[in-house]
């Protein structure tokens, strides 16, 4: 199985979720993250002075899927999360050894 972790623009979350749903992804875990990359954050004005907000709010998505579907999933995310603007984010993939469904104790493929 593969862990597919993607950092995306916050307003893209709903689209990505739906798209993944359609390609049959049963579950995902999302965490709020602050991103830092080429896009160097935004500025806020406070009483005449500009302040640099270094981090941009992002959502971090983690999806574990069977090897077979991982390419499809990656593709789906890349397409739906893409706005063509700097800051669209990244996808990182690595191998998962074991997956367990806590409720049932089922393992690996069955657990996804």
């Amino acid at each position: 199985m593969k862990m597919i972790m993607a950092v995306i623009q916050t307003h893209k979350l709903d689209d990505v979720r739906q798209a993944l749903n359609e390609v049959g992804v049963m579950g995902m875990t999302v965490t709020e993250a602050k991103g830092f990359g080429r896009t160097k954050g935004h500025t806020e004005i406070y009483r005449g002075a500009e302040y640099q907000i270094n981090y941009i709010p992002k959502f971090k998505i983690e999806v574990v899927v069977e090897d077979s579907v991982s390419d499809k999933v990656i593709e789906t995310i890349t397409e739906t999360a893409n706005t063509g603007k700097i800051g669209d984010g990244k996808i990182f993939v690595w191998d998962i050894e074991t997956a367990i469904r806590i409720r049932t104790g089922e393992q690996n493929e069955q657990a996804l």
Partner: protein, 403 residues
């Protein structure tokens, strides 16, 4: 002879002015700092409120409002001794006059909090505030409202342009300078952590200010009514001034900017609120809004002093502006009540300027001494590490948000 109508209004006004500090000003300031220091700011305001009340009862009121001295009152009314239950002050009970004035003695040192947030020792907050009340606020209050030398000169300060805003503003600047900048200033300083809280605090200050200015009439009649009106107009105008400037300059008017303008407009009208008409209120709002906006830049940008929440630029400068302009806007031509006979705008202006300058100098001198003394006795700043981790936990053992 006590009038129930007047008493009713001043009872209300006293509640309104307390409301300005608790929680108005506390929220206004707490929203402006970083989330790791929110509780410390609330704590500063609350503790000052309690301490100032006791100091006022013990000596403050007596030093400000008893005796014939030109420079300071006497001790005949410490702990209100000798003030009978039914003693009157004008058409209201003296006990009520005491309380109303007490709420001013509470908010003035609390205004100064904005200068030293996020780095000061809590012990220093208490010591500085107590000493400052006795040696700065009480005397100046006596000069202007207690029959002191400025009163004799015929200075106009209806609700505290000199007594409250100039004193707080100047002392704030001095303390900020002596305390030094926050670590990481200005790079690592963040914009307000909770603009919504700033807005709520400002709104409460606005509403409470009706008690502050209209209450200063000490009666419920035309003076109070017109004071409320001009106070509101000045606040609204100055808010729009900030909004317009930010819009033109950055393309985005901000909430914190607008409500900062509100406070500036309120501080500016304060000394004039009993003497000017709607047009005067409007002009003071314009003037106060523009001047304070640029002074914020000046203090932080040019002087490079970390008067963290801009107490001097907003309150000190605003209060001074109003104190000077009242000499002109008091004219009937501007719907004002007019100068007393034989007094010219120039001569009045001189009196007003004298009040502002002498008060500023006194605040400077006294504050320098107080701060140095405090440094010796309890120290001024928390150590770097505590500052970085935040005063909430380090000084008060609490954390602001547990979601």
């Amino acid at each position: 002879m006590i009038n129930a109508g007047d008493t009713s209004w001043i009872l209300t006004a006293t509640a309104l002015v307390l409301f300005m500090t608790m929680p108005g000003l506390a929220l206004f300031y707490a929203g402006l700092v970083r989330s790791k220091n929110i509780l410390s700011v609330l704590m500063h305001c609350a503790a000052i409120c309690c301490l100032a009340s006791i100091v006022w009862l013990a000596v403050g009121y007596s030093l400000a409002f008893s005796g014939e001295g030109a420079y300071v009152g006497d001790l005949s009314k410490v702990f209100l001794s000798g003030v009978t239950r039914d003693a009157a002050s004008g058409s209201i009970p003296e006990s009520l006059f005491f309380s109303f004035q007490m709420t001013f003695a509470i908010i003035t040192p609390a205004l100064i909090v904005g200068a030293y947030v996020e780095r000061i020792k809590f012990g220093a907050v208490l010591l500085i505030s107590a000493l400052w009340l006795v040696f700065v606020y009480a005397p100046v209050c006596h000069w202007v409202w207690g029959g002191g030398w400025l009163a004799s000169m015929g200075v106009y300060d209806f609700a505290g342009g000199i007594v409250v805003h100039v004193t707080a503003g100047v002392s704030a600047l001095v303390i900020a300078k002596m305390l030094g900048q926050r670590s990481g200033y200005p790079e690592q300083i963040q914009p307000p952590h909770a603009p919504w809280m700033v807005m709520v605090g400002a709104s409460m200050l606005w509403v409470g200010w009706f008690g502050f200015n209209a209450g200063s009439a000490l009666t419920a009649g035309t003076d109070a009514s017109m004071a409320l009106l001009v106070t509101h107009i000045s606040a609204a105008t100055a808010s729009l001034v900030w909004l317009v400037i930010e819009w033109l300059r950055f393309g985005k008017p901000s909430l914190v900017g607008l409500v900062t303008g509100t406070i500036a407009g309120l501080a500016t009208i304060t000394p004039a609120s009993g003497f000017v008409g709607p047009m005067g209120g409007f002009i003071l709002g314009l003037a106060g809004g523009v001047i304070t906006y640029y002074c914020v830049d000046l203090v932080k940008g040019k002087f490079n002093i970390d008067d963290s929440l801009d107490v001097f630029a907003v309150h000190g400068v605003g209060g001074a502006t109003g104190t000077l302009l009242v000499a002109i806007l008091i004219l009937p031509a501007f719907q004002g009540v007019g100068l007393s006979d034989g007094v010219s705008v120039m001569s009045q202006l001189t009196v007003q300027a004298t009040g502002v300058i002498v008060t500023a100098v006194w605040c400077l001198v006294a504050t320098v001494i107080i701060v140095n003394l405090t440094k010796r006795l309890v120290g001024l700043r928390v150590d770097e590490e505590d500052e970085v981790e935040g005063l909430d936990y380090k000084a008060h053992g609490e954390t602001g948000y547990k979601l």
